[in-house]
């Protein structure tokens, strides 16, 4: 019979007789997702409800006790931990818009025919992203120290005595490192998004008499709104998770405390304070805060993207 062959091949393509086939294909993702994302979250949540308790002088051993939400209460009651959230919020409110504006401006500039040596300049802007964040912070750390910084020495030469690691300035010095590191990658994403916009739209606008600037602001930006919101969202999340740069700069200035950002506070609680249970509760709180901010930004972005594309 000739029936068997077609059926077999149909099966191969449709998988109709083997309903488990799709699951096999997604199994690697699901396994990694469960092991490296869901499981750690569950472990953190469970850990946050317990505490390792000693008694007396502590030399009689420890017992793990269920303490409910006490760790959360302690974390929320820690003014310095909460101040860390305020600090990254202030940082984010300034650093993220500045970085996104810079990245968008550069992407639009590279998208015009006006720029010579585009490949070179794009590469130059992108290059800092290839430098690991820790190394970037080390580099800038040298540039922020008056006796070893050619930058500050040059400034002193013209009579300006800048202290970039003072309590009032250090936040912006950290922001500068992130700006230097991440503007490039955001520019590349926005530039790539611009390449997908049909050129006919620009021509139509030009025929209507729109200037390059008008096209950039009125056509290009709305067209790549989804990419802008994606990069903004990941930048905001990155801000909440701020750790590498301040942790490294902490080694050159005492004005970055051990709990300067929420992530640093978690690190300090678990490694320096040796209280992984409290650190778990703090991590859960940070995760929740990130979730809330992400949902808010996404909500907002969906609405504005819709409006922007509707307008075209």
């Amino acid at each position: 019979m000739s029936v068997a062959l077609p059926r077999a091949s149909r099966r191969r393509f449709s998988g109709a007789g083997r309903p488990w086939v799709p699951y096999v294909f997604i199994a690697p993702f699901v396994a990694l997702f469960l092991v490296f994302l869901v499981a750690p979250i569950l472990v953190a949540v469970v850990n946050s409800l317990y505490s390792r308790q000693s008694s007396g002088l502590g030399f009689g051993g420890t017992e793990v006790e269920f303490i409910g939400l006490d760790n959360f209460a302690r974390a929320i009651g820690d003014a310095d931990f909460l101040a860390g959230f305020g600090r990254v919020a202030l940082y984010g409110i300034v650093q993220v818009p500045v970085m996104m504006a810079l990245a968008a401006a550069l992407a639009l500039l590279f998208d015009t025919a006006l720029v010579r040596g585009r490949k070179f300049f794009q590469f130059a802007v992108f290059l800092p992203y290839a430098v690991p964040g820790v190394i970037a912070a080390l580099l800038w750390g040298f540039l922020y120290q008056p006796s070893v910084s050619p930058l500050l020495q040059a400034l002193r030469g013209i009579g300006i005595h800048a202290d970039l690691l003072a309590p009032g300035t250090v936040l912006w010095s950290v922001a500068n490192v992130s700006l230097w590191s991440y503007t490039g990658i955001n520019m590349i994403i926005l530039f790539a998004a611009l390449q997908t916009v049909p050129r006919e739209i620009y021509e139509a606008a030009k025929l209507d008499g729109a200037s390059e600037f008008r096209i950039a602001v009125g056509v290009k930006l709305p067209m790549i709104a989804p990419a802008i919101l994606l990069t903004t969202l990941s930048s905001i999340i990155g801000t909440l998770q701020l750790f590498n740069e301040p942790q490294v700069l902490q080694t050159v200035t005492a004005n970055i405390a051990s709990d300067w950002t929420p992530n640093m506070a978690i690190y300090a609680a678990s490694t320096l304070g040796k209280n992984p249970n409290l650190a778990s509760a703090m991590a859960v709180l940070l995760g929740l805060a990130t979730l809330i901010v992400s949902v808010l930004v996404l909500r907002l972005s969906n609405r504005t993207t819709k409006r922007a594309t509707d307008g075209l």
Partner: protein, 433 residues
Amino acid sequence: MEATKLTRPRWMRPASFAMAGALALVGLAGCSASGGDEGVTEIEFWGWVPGLEDLVDTWNEENPDVQVSFHRMTGDDGQKVEVAVDGGAGPDLVQLSTHNLPDYVIQERVVEITEWVADEEENYTPASWASVSFDGGVYGIPQGIGPAGMMYRADILEQHGLEIPTTWDEYLETARALHAANPDVYIANMSPSEIGQWVQEIQQAESSWYSIEGDAWKLGVNDEGSKLVAERWQTLLDEGLVTTEQMWTPEYWALVNNGTIATVSYAAWFPTILAENAAETSGLWKVAPLPVNEGSTNSGDSGGAAVIVLKNSEHPAEAAEFAAWLNGSDETQDTLITVGGLFPSTQNGLASEALLSESEFYGGQVVNEVFIESAENTPATWVEGPNFGTIQTAILDEFAKVVTGEQTFLEALDRAQAAGVADLESRGLSVVD
């Protein structure tokens, strides 16, 4: 830089700038429990003292049945050890600041080794042996201590016709005279990030962060001795007589090299580091005893280290035997002192001629003569206790706000004390006021 240390020793100091990169880049090195071929016991040992590789080789040649493998600790390896041990793995032996040993005992990460090493006690200084003994048990073999001395720029003092200050009152006078004579010169750098310099001076003042009352801990972060030291540095700070750079940074070494800082008070292991980082000032430095408090001959100590057997070791007896050999045998003392830069906590080490070699950097001075005397004058009042790390972090965070003028040292100490008490109580430990 980590970490911050002969409370955390210098080579694993998270506060050391260049190490910050290593901290983030070094992956988790193998932390497997020991196992091995039949008949041969394998011991894994993590430590940071220079030259340990050679000593381990010597042991392995002499002891074919017990083979030790060595891992040099950098960056945050100390924290990795804790995680590994809590997770059921980790090396057999690790080097540890004795300030952190009580935590290891309380968290049950360390094996009591009394039965194998009790007869070693007589070779160790009483203070160092006490630092590894808790509740009648021995939990490690001491490896070096940190008696304090004062490194000073002899040329600068001489230039301004100033005597070497021997008391802290004279130190203040010298600071004033020096700064008045040359506003670009400061008597010292008050690093808000350096707990060891704080610890040595409060120990000199017979303060102790911990003491035991009955079955409870008592914290003394803001006790009388600490207040005395706090007022001293407050005066120096308020009168603008000290710089406040963070120690170990390029900026700090620049100030040391260009003659801005006239004295550095620190432990016996510091002279070697100073010589390495300020090579161009060779011959200008000398070492004098740490200035004393009025009416006292006390010196101070920033803390020592120990080699301890971790709980997941399958061969604690052999591991303890190796640790005892490494730190206490006659054949290892010279290497530990000359290559390792350790100030010995052993009687045979203190008797070693290697300790009394002249140092070119210090104009041919036998600098350890100062530190030997310092060790003899260190009061036995310091008690180690749980959660040194939390108090250390609290103090350093608060001190950062002191040098910027936001608060005073006394206020900083009160806050750190409160943070320490709250932390111990949250762990279920008994604390008395």
